[in-house]
């Protein structure tokens, strides 16, 4: 069901943990639907120099969290904001369709961390909109059957 890359990032997740001196922290999802992702970023000279995550969720949730930290590390804030949930999934060679919505929120968590960083530093967050961060909020619920 999962690709080799997903299984690799799930079994050997990169950048797990917290940053005590984080420049921004973002959290999306909720425990009710079974996925919570929290991302910590350290920003120096507009560049994400360190990044950590903590995730409660399924294999895809952990793998996408791990992958987004790898994609974002060393990038400028502007480039990091270009990372989409879709791009994270593609970097993992794809996710099962049912996981695309509910467990593919890692880029949103990164975005939330960047918004937090900008707010803390008095920067504008105009145009940076967040999804409501819950599986049931946007009417995009997916039901699969097996």
């Amino acid at each position: 069901m999962y690709t080799g890359k997903v299984m690799d990032h799930f079994a050997n997740p990169r950048n797990v943990g917290e940053l005590s001196d984080a420049s921004g922290v973002g959290e999306v999802g909720n425990a009710v639907c079974g996925d919570i992702m929290r991302i910590y970023i350290k920003v120096e000279n507009n560049i994400i120099t360190d990044i950590k995550f903590k995730t409660f969720g399924c294999g895809a949730a952990i793998a996408t969290s791990s992958m987004v930290t790898e994609l974002a590390k060393g990038k400028t804030i502007e480039d990091a904001l270009e990372i989409s949930n879709q791009a994270v999934a593609e970097a993992l060679d794809g996710l099962p369709p049912v996981k695309m919505h509910c467990s593919n929120l890692a880029a949103d968590a990164l975005k939330a961390a960047i918004i937090d960083y900008k707010k803390k530093n008095g920067m504008s967050t105009e145009g940076l909109e967040m999804c409501p961060g819950c599986c049931h909020g946007c009417g995009k619920e997916e039901k699969n059957t097996d």
């Binding site: 999962y2 299984m7 799930f10 079994a11 997740p13 797990v16 959290e27 425990a31 009710v32 639907c33 079974g34 996925d35 919570i36 992702m37 929290r38 903590k54 995730t55 409660f56 969720g57 399924c58 294999g59 949730a61 952990i62 996981k99 509910c102 467990s103 599986c135 049931h136 619920e141 997916e142 039901k143 699969n144 059957t145 097996d146």
Partner: protein, 385 residues
Amino acid sequence: MKAYLDNAATTKVLPEIANAMAAAMVENYGNPSGIYELSRNSKNLLDTSREQVAKLINASPKEIIFTCGGSEGDTMILEGIVKKYRDKGNHIITTKVEHHAILHACEALEETGVQVTYLDVDENGKVSPEAVEAAITDKTILISVMYANNEIGTVMPIREIGAVAKKHNVLFHTDAVQAVGHIPVDVVADNIDLLTLTAHKFHGPKGTGAVYIRQGVKMDKIIYGGGQEKGLRPGTEDTAGILGLGMAAEHALNHMEENKKRVGALRDKLIAGIEASIPEVRLNGARVDRLPNNVNFSIKYIEGEGLLLLLDMNGIAASSGSACTSGSLDPSHVLLAIGLPHEIAHGSLRLTLSEFTTDEEVDYVLEKLPQIVERLREMSPLYNK
């Protein structure tokens, strides 16, 4: 090291059953409806299996109808009874913790105008006979309550519910798929009118089961064809599968007491071991009235699918009631019905044993599970040591 702990999903076929089935397919292939010797042999094989299955649940052979398994049996009874008694009433009583074979059949019947009462259960997953009695109306034509729960292993007060049904002259069906072959089931003492069972839950083949229909209980058919199985389940009989079902029934009956004791002891070891080695866990299901092969825990701060993946990487087969493994965005309806909050229900782990389960497998799980849980908890933003 490998450990197979998903026996509530399905069990290994006993090797002697698999061999006998293979032989029957090539040697005993006659259609049981024919009159020549090859057919008579097949017919005899069906008769023997019918006796073996009947004996397992204290029924009479003529009360056994072979089916292709649990979902078919449940659907055929619910729809067949409604079809027959629709003029008499249109109300069914069941519970919120039934298998989807019952719940989805009830939902389909609701679309045709049938009224269904889904009874609540207590924190252990039990429905009370009083609640069943209180739900009965003059329109009630069927009560359907599972014998034992497939997820949390709770055994329902079937005998008491059977007595209530009898007192009010309402037909009583039980989906006994998880109970038959594991604990004594006596359709006479339990006042059961209709029962569903399937072979693959007690070391028989997949795709073969039976329903028990008490003599005198009438129902309509939902499958059309020839006159096989009293016309209630037309279609050429799967003689090899039915042979396997009969053999599995006989084996289960002959070994029930020893298996209950041995498997029950392994279950208790697993429960005690998990409670001793992993903090913040909750045993789901009744401690006393519990299937001897079922262990179900909620493990706080982690989600079930990740747990199953890591267990699988260590050679351990298990299951969970998390949304990711239940096939929807919601965790198991059973765990929600016993009052667990969503976030706790997502982190459930079911380990189910069989007579093949060894001490070594249990020890191995008790060695690996705490490490895996700790690893996932360390990744979890909900966990603060």
